[in-house]
């Protein structure tokens, strides 16, 4: 028997597999496909103060081993999430859920966090300071250590729940941003959000996405994500949630060796809706193959010895 349990900011997860925000909605579409209670937890769609439609379409483009999205944080707004989505979620998901908090100002982060903090179902607040698809600052918070620190401090003030700062890869020194978050009381960091990218249509000779740029996710970014997790692991002592292109149980192990305590799976859910149960099923075999009996012991393993 191998042990896949890990502990994330004091909450025990059956396994480190967490569908990433924006690729799992509020879980309902997937709950129709399989029992999503097998997951460690999941991070729900980035939630802002007000309802947002997001960017005009096209919002999606394809790339080699990856995809671009410029959804632009479409969501029902925090009040509707609390009123309509969370009660419904109770009927199909019985574990603490990760609430993904997005915003355009420190006040918005604070405001949304304060409201979601009141929700008993919410286990962690994941503060997305890294969405590249919104104009007006969404990304700036995550690319600069002082701005990231400010958001952390402000959110820290309104919740006792664990807060996880979600970092942007579009920055020179992600470890410095992570450290700044840790110093202000972040309980964990999650990384990476998408890499700012674009595609151009040869037919129209214009950008393919209406928003011009979008965020790159999928296997293409896995080696970048791995490097960033590795660097952040050396800079902070708080747990790291690693993500970016993870698509197999082997990828999970590799990311944990780099320093991740738990991992998130984003784009892979979209092209293969059963990827999370598959990975959860295969993980024990892969662990045995590589001589791992307790998954939590390999966290950061690539740094030692």
């Amino acid at each position: 028997m191998v042990n896949t349990k890990i502990s994330l900011c004091g909450i025990e997860l059956d396994n480190p597999i967490i569908p990433a925000s924006g690729t799992f909605g509020f879980g309902k579409e997937f709950a129709e496909l399989y029992d999503i209670n097998i997951l460690g937890t999941f991070s729900f769609k980035g939630t802002t103060h007000h309802e947002r439609f997001g960017n005009p379409t096209p919002r999606i483009a394809e790339t080699a081993s990856g995809m671009l999205n410029a959804v632009g944080l479409q969501n029902p707004g925090v009040d509707a999430v609390i009123k309509d989505y969370l009660p419904d979620m109770k009927t199909y998901f019985h574990k603490p859920v990760m609430a993904n908090v997005s915003g355009f100002s420190i006040e918005e982060y604070v405001d949304v966090s304060r409201k979601l903090d009141q929700q008993e179902q919410v286990g962690w607040l994941e503060i997305n300071i890294s969405c590249p698809n919104v104009h007006g600052g969404g990304m700036a918070f995550g690319t600069c250590p002082t701005a990231a620190a400010e958001v952390t401090r402000a959110v820290r003030g309104v919740t006792k729940k664990p807060i996880i700062l979600k970092l942007s890869p579009n920055t020179t020194d992600i470890a410095a941003v992570a450290k700044a978050c840790e110093d202000e009381g972040a309980d964990a960091v999650s990384l990476i959000n998408t890499l700012l990218s674009m595609r151009i249509s040869l037919q129209t000779k214009k950008p393919l996405l209406h928003n011009i740029t979008g965020g790159l996710s999928g296997p293409a970014i896995f080696p970048v994500a791995l490097r960033m997790v590795y660097q952040v692991y050396q800079a902070v002592r708080i747990p790291i949630i690693g993500m970016g292109g993870i698509s197999s149980a082997e990828d999970v192990v590799e990311m944990m060796l780099a320093g991740a305590t738990a991992i998130q799976i984003g784009a892979a859910n979209l092209v293969d809706p059963f990827i999370c149960p598959q990975i959860i099923q295969k993980l024990p075999d892969v662990m045995r193959k590589y001589g791992i009996s307790d998954l939590s012991t390999i966290i950061g393993g690539a740094h030692h010895g």
Partner: protein, 245 residues
């Protein structure tokens, strides 16, 4: 929605760059014409959404008609009988045939035509007599005329250059037809023009670039009169009155 394996039975060219593929597989999942599947292809990251043109639950066959417009559809056009495809199906809500009168207009443009065959079979089964109007650019692009004629339907073909059937656009052809309801599928501009010219109520099938095809990513959202809706989940077929065109 299920993840399924379809096996190519036949795959033949039926018009300029247009192919018809018949697959063996579970066809019992489909509940309405206008639904689609999302196909995984080798070395391409995103799946490719293609409408079900026709299906037969008893024989377990599914018909797709697609145009080679890029890497994915080119790859499909090279698939040989026996090749297998991993697909997600069924996706989306199809046409609602319970509304509309006994003589609806069915309007297709280019490769918007395929799902209308399944639609017409359903309408005929329900005792209706649709009038079919199909628009293409030129003679070489025309397909499926005989399929609609075989259903005993009045079928009007229009081409932009007049090289086959009537000359002009489907909107021109529609002007002469009296109908209190319509079903349409085709290029965005054609659907928009139809909605602007036709006084009747109706349903149109839309396309958007899709991340998932089953409602998870919000990649395909459009704004409607009833708020935002996902083309892949609430659509691809929408009532025209929902569209703010």
């Amino acid at each position: 929605m299920k993840e399924q394996q379809y096996t190519v039975k036949t795959n033949e060219q039926i018009a300029s760059s247009v192919y018809k593929m018949v697959c063996a597989g579970d066809a019992s999942v489909f509940t309405a014409p206008g639904q689609f599947i999302n196909i995984k292809l080798d070395s391409l990251y995103l799946r490719r959404p293609i409408s079900i043109s026709d299906w037969n639950s008893e024989r377990g066959t599914i018909t797709l008609v697609y145009k080679d417009v890029g890497t994915g559809t080119a790859q499909m056009s090279r698939m040989l009988p026996g090749a297998t495809m991993n697909v997600l199906s069924p996706l989306g809500n199809g046409f609602d045939t319970t509304v509309g009168g006994p003589k609806p207009l069915v309007i297709g443009g280019g490769v918007g035509t395929p799902p209308l065959l399944g639609l017409c079979k359903q309408l005929v089964k329900e005792g209706k007599h649709p009038h079919v109007i199909l628009g293409f650019n030129t003679k070489d692009d025309v397909f499926y005329e005989s399929e609609f004629l075989d259903l005993g339907l009045k079928t009007t073909i229009v081409t932009m250059d007049g090289s086959y059937g009537l000359r002009g656009m489907v909107t021109d052809a529609c002007l002469n037809v009296q109908a209190d309801y319509f079903f349409a599928c085709g290029p965005f501009k054609m659907l928009q023009a139809l909605c602007c010219t036709l006084p009747a109520e109706g349903q149109v099938s839309l396309e958007e670039r899709m991340g998932c095809g089953f409602g998870a990513c919000m990649g395909c959202s459009i704004m409607t009169r009833n708020g935002s809706m996902r083309v892949c989940k609430e659509g691809p077929v929408f009532e025209r009155r929902l569209l703010d065109w």
